[in-house]
Symmetry: D2
Subunit: 102 residues, 4 copies
C-alpha cells in the first residue's frame, strides 16, 4: 500500500533548539532513498507503507540515540486506492484550481 | 521500542457519518490484543512499535475495503526511553499535579 | 459558529514531565465554563468558536507564564453546519455502529 | 502574541478531490495580508495570534459556504517568548545544522 505522510518529530527535554534533531532525521530519511521534502512544519515522505514507517521508526531511534529521552511526533497519513497521488502534485493542483475558478 | 499513539482515521468521500468506519477500526484493534481506549477525538493505542503500526495499517486496509477510496489519518506518536509510561497514567498524573499545586 | 476541538499543548525546553503544565491548562479551561474532557492524548473542548480559541490562547499564555519559553500545540478542529454534534456523542455513536453491524 | 501555524483543512462529504476547497482557503488567506506558504500537507501562516485565528475561522466559513457541511482541520501551533522565529527560517536552520555537523 502506497502512503504519503507529513512527519513532524519533536524531541522533549533537550532545550529550545530542535534543528540538529531534525537534521538527524533528514539524514535517516535521505539514506532510505524514499522521496521526501523538508518543509517549515514537517517533512513530506512517500512510498510503500512498510518502508515509510520503518523510516519513521529509524528517525525515532536516531533522535533517542542523539540524547532525547522523550519524543512527541505528529503524523498526517494519506492513502488512496482510486489513484496514485504524489505529494509533489498537491501544490500544483491547488494552483490549477485557483486558475480554473478565475 | 514501546510506543503510545493517538489514532484518528478520517475516510474521505463517504458522506458525513463516519462512525461505522471508526467502528470497523475498533474491531481491527480489538483483534490485535493491544491495549487501547476509544475517545471522542481519537483512539489511544499502545504496545510494541511494529505491532502498533501493523494495527494502524490494518485499520487503513479495513476502511478502504469498506468503501472509502481515500483516507486522511492523524497520529500523535509518543516514545520515551527514560521510563515506560502508559496512556492510562496520563489523566491521573494531571489530577495529581492539580492537587499538588493546590 | 460552533466548534469541537482536541487540544494537546506541549511545552518545550522544560524537561520531561509535562503534567504540571497540562494541569495549568486544565485550570484555565475550567474557568471558562466551556464543556471539556481531559483525555490521555488531548483535551476535548467545545463551544462558540471565539470562546474556544480565546481559551486556547489563554492556555498558551498560562504555560508561557509558568516558564515554558516555547510551545508546540496540536489541534483537531471540527465544525459542521448540517447539525450540532457534541464530542460527548461520538463514543456512544461508535458503539451504536458496532452493535448495528453485529 | 506572535504565532506560527500549520493549517490543514479537510472538507468531508464532498467527494475525493479537495483542491478547489484548499484554493478557496488560499484566497481567504491571501486577502488577510498575513505571511503564508502553501505546502503539500498544509499551509504555513504566521502573524499576530488573533489575526491568524480570525483567518482560520474565515477559511472554515468559506469552505462551508462552498458546500462542505463538515470540516476536519488539523493545526500545529507554535509560540515562543524567547525570540521571534519565522517559519521561513526553519528549513535554512536545518540545512545549517546539517552542514555544521559535517
Amino acid at each position: 500500500m502506497w502512503v504519503s505522510v507529513d512527519l513532524c518529530v519533536v524531541p522533549l527535554g533537550v532545550g529550545l533548539s530542535l534543528s540538529s534533531y531534525i537534521a538527524a532525521c533528514k539524514n535517516v530519511i535521505e539514506k532510505t532513498g524514499l522521496d521526501y521534502e523538508v518543509g517549515p512544519n514537517g517533512t513530506a515522505i512517500e512510498g510503500d507503507w512498510d518502508e515509510v514507517f520503518a523510516c519513521i521508526r529509524a528517525c525515532h531511534e536516531a533522535v533517542h540515540k542523539k540524547g532525547a529521552a522523550r519524543i512527541y511526533t505528529t503524523l498526517k497519513v494519506n492513502t488512496r486506492i482510486d489513484r496514485k497521488q504524489s505529494f509533489r502534485e498537491k501544490v500544483p493542483s491547488i494552483k490549477f484550481a485557483l486558475n480554473s475558478e478565475g
